[in-house]
Amino acid sequence: MKKLYTIPAAFLASSLFLTGCAGFQTGNNNDSSAENEEGKVVLDFWTFWGSEIRRPVIEKIITDFNESQDEIEVQHTYLPWGDIWTKELAAIAAGDPPDVVINDINATALRGEQNQAMNLSEFLAEDDISDQFYPELWDATLYEGDSYGIPFNTDTRVLFYNKDAFEEAGLDPEQPPTTWDELEEYAAKLDVKNGDDYERIGFYPLWGINYDVWMLNANGHNFINEDNEVLIDTETNLETLEWLKGWQDKYGDDVINSYKAQIDSQQGNPFFNGSLGMYVSAPTFYTQIRDYADDLNFGVAKLPEMEPGNGHTSWGGGFVAEIPAGASNPEASYEFIKYLTGAEAQEYWAVQNFDNVANIEAAESAAQSDEFTEDGTMVYSMATEYMSDTLLTPVPVSAPDFMGSVNPKIDEVFLGSKTPKQALEEAQADVESLVEKNTRE
């Protein structure tokens, strides 16, 4: 009898105790029109920068902003990468979103169309800051001509190559490959075979990036253009796909998969110890070389072009700072975003994180920063210059998920169950009907 009462009793006791806990006090959420004791507007700023490296940098920028004026107080909330946007969506739906959030630049227009992000054109009409940013980035934030987010950071894809391996193979370490033909030729020279195994692989184009980057590199445009034309089954894409398939045939699935597992897991990279001669990655890959393969003698170059004169087009992404729809203090939020994307904060971010930033002035002065080592400066300034050849792939509003129709077809090419021509034709047809369906409604 006594025993049986202990359960409810313990429950009651603990719940009484817990109502005293912070987790059970309602009303401590950052209420919409929140003001603190000093009468400042309090802004809730959501980012996914919680790492040892990034967190102190963003918090320093926030502190600087808070101290620079006495109207607004920004509070930082870290949320896990990727999941942050699930939470944001729920918060927008409930009408209680944060005041500023960092979001993917490529889907900015989509969020504009779907009323998830606030239209910033009113603020820009008063004070046009668009020319502070790389045009390619700025354009990605537009939906029907209006901006829905201000570009924050960005990246590109560059070719890292091992200079010592170049020398060993009789190549000039100051002359990285500039065309696809050279890339193939150099890779063959860099290959070191031991029986059936490779001691060094010269290059494999689908480690680090996907086929779509090579197609972008070859034809300089996205799969769906502004007029909703689908450009998947093209002569250039076909040639690219056949070229990529050729690499697969050269090295064979066994070799490719054993390396790929390692590269995809982001635990170690064969480029670090010289068992891979060339590798395509974002410029921040340099920080991994710096931290984990300090002795590596490497160079960095633009992606080779398909044919001379075709262009060294590369692919990039990035993030914007935006105001979620329904946020209660848009003016204050915009004020903070302007600071966040301004030259001073951007340069600090760029230098501390070795990250490409969207603000042109900041990017260019960061490239001169004496806080970088010689290698760091080399990579950073190259990446900054390369921004002019870097394209984004904004999600087309007419078919946001179209890559879901394309990827499986291309996978089948590499699995050997479809020819490149078949795959592209089928993908073209699928995406065309997708676009037609979505635009008709």
Partner: protein, 304 residues
């Protein structure tokens, strides 16, 4: 899990058939038996090693330096055993606070699930009332709705109640029963003979009294199962705390672990150290309540 057992059975059978044909079977019977035991043991040990290897990989990664994690080819044993990784992991975020938070939520969820579900299940099993079967069917039907569909409406509801950034949305639902647990416990209550309930009623016992004095003690194994599964569910819940908590001081362990996973790179050594620490209570609970775990799994698969 079943494959080592099947293997053993196979070896035993194969051994027996061969033994009978062999004239020296009877002389060496003792040795043969030992031999079979040894083979059993080796096979089971090999199977366990295989199953344990990911856990070893976690442990080994958690002790490496980041440079070693990134080295190619990967190393199976750490070059140096960096136990300090565990301290640094714990200090990288307020993990002590997160542990307390997680414990508070988990405890309440377990209490809530045990009380509410056994209570509701008793009603469905032992109290006849009009529309009982229909109501029970509706309860079961809620299992058909995937959680993601109700995610946003639920969030909007809790936001309207002003419960965002509190533990209420994580804890209160546990006090209102869940279809699977109700089903599980109801099946258990059904096995209690109605005569027993009738007899107690004749003696003047109320249903509440019968539930407490007869129902709960007789369904202990099932209740333990419910408790263990709700512990695991609440302890490992990521989406709930992610959605409802905004204040970093209220975060739970599962959210805390994400600190080590970034957009570009992951601090694998810290992530693995943290994951092992978070996994520890689950492993300990498993050791102590193995019996109920296995029973629970049997009940689950039997139920489906």
């Amino acid at each position: 899990m079943t494959s080592p057992q099947e293997d053993t059975r196979y070896v035993e059978e194969a051994g027996t058939t061969r033994d009978i044909k062999n004239p020296s079977y009877f002389e060496h019977h003792g040795n043969r038996k030992k031999m079979l035991k040894l083979i059993n043991f080796v096979l089971l040990a090999a199977g366990s090693l295989m199953i344990l290897s990911p856990l070893w990989w976690m442990l080994s990664t958690s002790l490496k330096t980041m440079a070693e994690v990134m080295s190619f080819p990967p190393t199976f044993f750490p070059e140096s055993w960096n136990w300090s990784n565990y301290i640094r992991t714990w200090e990288a975020a307020p993990f002590t606070q997160y542990t307390i938070n997680t414990l508070v939520i988990t405890t309440l969820v377990v209490i809530g699930n045990v009380l509410s579900n056994s209570f509701i299940a008793y009603g469905f099993a032992k109290i006849p009332f009009r529309g009982r079967n229909l109501l029970f069917a509706i309860v079961l039907a809620t299992m058909m709705i995937p959680g993601f569909v109700t995610l946003i409406p639920q969030y909007v509801l809790f936001a309207k109640l002003g419960w965002v950034n509190t533990y209420y949305p994580l804890v209160v639902p546990a006090f209102f029963g869940s279809a699977f647990n109700i089903f599980l416990l109801r099946q258990f209550y059904m096995t209690i003979p109605n005569e027993l309930i009738e007899a107690a009623k004749m003696e003047g016992a109320s249903h509440f009294y019968i539930w407490r004095k007869i129902g709960l003690p007789l369904t202990k194994p099932a209740i333990a199962t419910v408790a263990i599964f709700s512990f695991n569910g609440a302890w490992n819940d990521f989406l709930g705390p992610l959605l409802y908590l905004n204040d970093e001081n209220l975060y739970t362990l599962q959210i805390g672990l994400q600190v080590f996973k970034g957009q570009l790179n992951t601090q694998w050594n810290y992530l693995m150290a943290g994951s092992l620490l978070v996994l520890l209570p689950v492993i300990i609970i498993f050791f102590f309540f193995q019996k109920y775990f296995i029973q629970g799994i049997n009940l689950q698969s039997g139920g489906k």
